[in-house]
């Protein structure tokens, strides 16, 4: 075990997999000489050289497109966006090519590729830098979408993603990059995709979260514990495939659920989870399933207003009180 920050765990996963498989490459804006916009790829250019750590012009759609082409003929690119927000201009390549080429080719082609970047709110970066893009991508069959909350999961899931033969989208968070945690050193330590983790056990209510919101949900659970409410916090880790078994088992125990996530309330992964719970655990529910999400507005820049839009522990606590009929 090593104590690593989240960014170091992501880096360790990439380095180990690039040493293990020479077909793996890292490409993106500022990943090489600048050491990564968030220093995730620090030292990697020196270690692997310019043929495997590739700085690109500012062209997300372009380097996504060429990486898909390279994956078709047998490379395994890791594509870094400076943030997931900027993947919007590459959306066509991801939607129409990465996600579909295996299916459209009758299984003759495969696109083993990892797209990774920080996602969701950061601090005071305005509406165009604060999107929770997982909701757009998780809708698409052919893609896998991961959103780890801890350094260990970041490493284990990213390594699994790089070894996977399908396109995997890996959601990091600018606000998590500095978070420290115990991370296994075993070069074959993998976290399987599609398995949620119980971040905190509890009997009174289930809070489902992923990525940064797991930490906020744990904060809310600590507040609730002081009120005598024991919340179970599920860290989804993987949004597609989705571990509905763990969610449903928890709700069958607690009979109440709140989904806490970044992103807007209209549709999205949060609504998907609510659907599964009402469909699969209807008779076990003692209250409607509620959600805590962004307010339904583009993200403001002003810090005070931004804090109102982004889910806080207090808002999760408030929703939990509602499902417990204590509000």
């Amino acid at each position: 075990m090593s104590q690593l920050r989240f960014r170091e765990a992501v880096r360790a996963a990439m380095i180990e997999e690039m040493e293990r498989d020479e077909r793996v490459y890292l490409i993106g804006e500022e990943v090489g000489h600048y050491q990564g916009a968030y220093k995730v790829s620090e030292g990697m250019l020196e270690r692997f050289g310019e043929r495997r750590v590739i700085d690109t012009p500012i062209t997300e759609s372009g380097f996504t497109g060429i990486s898909i082409g390279a994956a078709i003929v047998g490379l395994r690119p890791i594509v870094e966006y400076m943030t997931w927000n900027f993947s919007a201009v590459a959306f066509d390549q991801i939607l129409n090519n990465a996600a579909k080429l295996r299916q459209m080719s009758g299984g003759q082609l495969r696109v083993p590729i990892v797209f990774r970047a920080p996602n969701g709110s950061a601090r005071q970066v305005g509406s165009q830098h604060s999107h929770a893009m997982e909701h757009f991508y998780a809708h698409i069959p052919g893609l896998k979408v991961l959103a780890p909350a801890t350094p260990a999961d970041a490493k284990g899931l990213l390594k699994a993603a790089i070894r996977d033969d399908d396109p995997v989208l890996f959601m990091e968070s600018e606000t998590l990059y500095g978070v420290k945690g115990e991370v296994p050193d075993d070069p074959d330590f993998l976290v399987p995709m599609g398995q949620a983790a119980i971040a905190r056990e509890g009997r009174d209510v289930t809070i489902v979260a992923w990525s940064r919101m797991v930490h906020v949900a744990l904060e809310a659970a600590a507040v609730l514990a002081r009120e005598g409410v024991e919340a179970e916090v599920i860290d989804l880790r993987s949004l597609r495939p989705l571990d509905e078994t763990t969610i449903v088992a928890s709700v069958r125990k607690t009979h109440r659920a709140v989904i806490a996530y970044e992103g807007w309330p209209y549709g999205g992964v949060g609504a998907e989870i609510v659907d599964r719970i009402q469909r699969l655990a209807f008779d076990d529910l003692d209250a409607p399933v509620l959600r805590t999400s962004f307010l339904d507005v583009p993200m403001p820049y002003n810090a005070r207003l931004e804090q109102l839009v982004v889910p806080q522990a207090s808002r999760i606590v408030e929703q939990v009180r509602k499902v417990l009929y204590r509000a």
Binding site: Y25, R51, R52, T56, P57, T59, S61, G62, F63, T64, G65, I66, S67, I68, G69, A70, A71, I72, V73, G74, L75, V89, D92, Q93, N96, N97, L101, R102, Q103, M104, S105, G106, G107, Q108, L109, R110, P141, G142, K144, D164, D165, D166, G194, P241
Partner: protein, 391 residues
């Protein structure tokens, strides 16, 4: 998308009529000139002649002829409701056929709408090719892809993207992979004149130039993007000249001249293979027929304009050359046509014996391994009422 304002069309119709250009000197500015080999009388320009063997020329003729006959038959079966859609190559066959002949087995092809036939030239059999148009159980694509989006892993051909441009960066990326791995593979990517307005044209050209990849990018300028003429697509003097700004050597070639296209593609492929980097080719041609079976071109262009280009038909020009060289006469030509028609008829008969792909195949190939939720959906579908027979 790609529709000009019809209200402004009438006033400057004369400006948008597509004229045939004379061959122009290419040495100084190959992106502004026009590389041509075949002369009107069937002879060749010795200064540009690539010296194709008699065998290769006859092969090119046969392939173009087969494609011409195949396209006509496919439009017919589409009109009869036997297939859903078809985009013919008629009038612009010289470029895909010459490209197919200029490549090696391990090279990769990323076609656009009208270059699917390259895989036939490179050895993909006709029956499974037609099965991709019918989308039936003989189709290696399992009935999932539109007609005229043909692909085959066996011949290193990848389906183009209906969005118009995205296949060109794929071609650059495949070439980039070859460069990284140090193998000698070359990739060829296609786009149309309309596609050059898409961001992926810029992406591909820019990255091909920056990374100096072994890629040949070919624009089939057939002068019409559905109803939009090239003059309304770009104000650039030629499309080829756009390559200059990306640092990509570019050549404008007579796309109705098989010998000229073969020369341009072969030289570009040889340079790419020897580490000389990318080339951009603009093949000047004309779409004789409709954009697709969903289009009526009489609404936006004149019969006179079409007639001037029919007179420059690549098949007729090659035929003239073969006759000039004593390689072809009416009897050989008629026998070839009969043989090819019979081959196509037999293939259509065979392919139409196959039914639709099994519905259980719907859930395959979405992922490498079928996830549990798709296994559940599959089981549910198979438990349910059967689909109507034949569909």
């Amino acid at each position: 998308m790609h529709q000009a304002d019809p209200g402004s069309r009438g006033s400057d119709a004369a400006e948008t009529t597509i004229a045939i250009e004379a061959a122009a000197p290419v040495a100084a500015a190959p992106d502004l000139g026009l590389l041509r080999v075949l002369r009107d009388d069937g002879s060749v320009d010795p200064a540009t002649d690539p010296g194709m063997s008699a065998e290769l020329l006859l092969r090119a003729y046969r392939e173009i002829k087969r494609l011409r006959l195949l396209d006509a038959r496919m439009i017919l079966v589409q009109r009869q409701g036997r297939v859903g859609f078809y985009g013919a190559c008629t009038g612009q066959e010289a470029t895909p056929i010459a490209t197919g002949l200029a490549l090696e087995k391990d090279d990769w092809v990323f076609p656009a709408l009208r270059e699917s036939s390259i895989m036939l030239v490179r050895g993909f059999p006709l029956v499974p090719y037609l099965a991709q148009i019918y989308g039936n159980s003989a189709d290696v694509l399992k009935g999932r892809q539109m007609p005229s989006h043909m692909s085959g892993r066996a011949v290193n051909q990848v389906s183009w993207s209906s969005v118009i441009g995205p296949q060109l960066p794929h071609a650059v990326g495949a070439a980039w992979a070859a460069k990284i791995r140090g193998d000698r593979t070359v990739t060829v990517g296609f786009i149309g004149d309309g596609g050059t307005s898409e961001p992926d044209f810029h992406n591909a050209m820019n990255l091909a130039g920056v990374y100096r990849v072994p890629c040949v990018m070919i624009c089939q300028n057939n002068h019409w993007a559905i109803s939009v003429p090239t003059a309304r697509q770009t104000a650039s003097e030629t499309i080829a000249v756009k390559g200059r700004a990306y640092g990509v050597p570019s050549v404008r070639v007579d796309g109705n001249d098989v010998l000229a296209v073969y020369k341009a593609v072969s030289e570009a492929v040889a340079r790419a293979r020897s580490g000389g980097g990318p080339t951009f080719l603009e093949a000047l041609t004309y779409r004789i027929g409709a954009h697709s079976t969903s289009d009526d071109p009489t609404r936006y262009r004149s019969d006179e304009e079409v007639a001037t280009w029919v007179a420059r038909d690549p098949l007729a020009r090659l035929r003239r050359h073969l006759v000039h060289r004593g390689l072809l006469d009416d009897a050989i030509d008629a026998a070839m046509e009969q043989e090819l028609s019979a081959e196509i008829s037999a293939a259509i008969t065979e392919v139409e014996t196959h039914g639709p792909p099994g519905r259980e195949t719907l859930f395959d190939d979405v992922y490498a391994d079928q996830p549990w939720h798709l296994a559940e959906q599959r089981a549910e579908l198979l438990r349910g009422p059967k689909a109507p027979a034949g569909h």
